[in-house]
Subunit: 141 residues, 2 copies
């Protein structure tokens, strides 16, 4: 997968009473949960995201419906479809992300390891490309 | 409302690109998030819950569809319908809860202030009733 991303499978506790998935902060996921947000009511033709973070780690889970996530850096690009509540996509620093193909009534739940911080965003792709090249070349990937 | 429960309204950041609701751990909600879980795929006739907690605080949010929550103690009973991602139901100690009338494709997201701890559950109603009477009488409600 694209560097600084990973798929995480969450165990389903299922039965006649329905299904439950539990995520313990700092256990089974690589960070403490500082922020939870969810995206809903996105029309199918909308594409959103268009940013990277400098430090933030997030886990994206499509808890209803399905959505595609394009994750990339200046050297790699991949599209991940999230279509089940048991699949989480971990995204770390310097990954450019775009979300698209939201199905009707889809809900994208996101867990993040830091509170909201505008300074951690890179929203300009040219700026991102230069910083990401430097970042990934330093990692010698 | 039933003691130790409260409705919380979350601000929607909406627009042409859809809607986003963000919940910061310990800000705007009265606790740090230690655990996140979600319940899905519950058939309409199923009733679940049937327990109280001794110390745990939780916020229930129906992020897709709708569901009814019966919250009670030995002195009070109320049914709350959760039908929008912007409405959260805070439930604290010694509240008996039962969840029912799950709509098709409903997803109930829950944020909790502690990791899973079986010792914090009271699952026997008779035991609950006695402990809750003592607890609420001590509070002189």
């Amino acid at each position: 997968m694209v560097h600084n991303t990973k798929l995480i499978h969450f165990e389903i506790h299922g039965g006649a009473y329905g299904n439950l998935i539990a995520i313990e902060s700092g256990k089974g996921i690589p960070f403490e949960i500082a922020r939870v947000y969810y995206i809903f009511g996105v029309e199918n033709k909308v594409r959103r995201g268009f940013h990277s973070h400098i430090n933030l780690y997030q886990i994206l889970i499509c808890v209803s419906g399905n959505v595609k996530i394009e994750i990339s850096n200046p050297f790699e690009k991949e599209i991940v479809e999230l279509n089940h509540p048991s699949e989480g996509l971990l995204i770390g620093p310097f990954v450019w992300r775009e979300m698209f193909d939201f199905s009707d009534n889809s809900v994208l739940l996101v867990l993040a390891n830091e509170h909201f911080c505008e300074e951690d965003y890179i929203r300009d792709y040219e700026v991102y490309r230069d910083l990401a090249k430097e970042y990934f070349e330093r990692l010698e990937i």
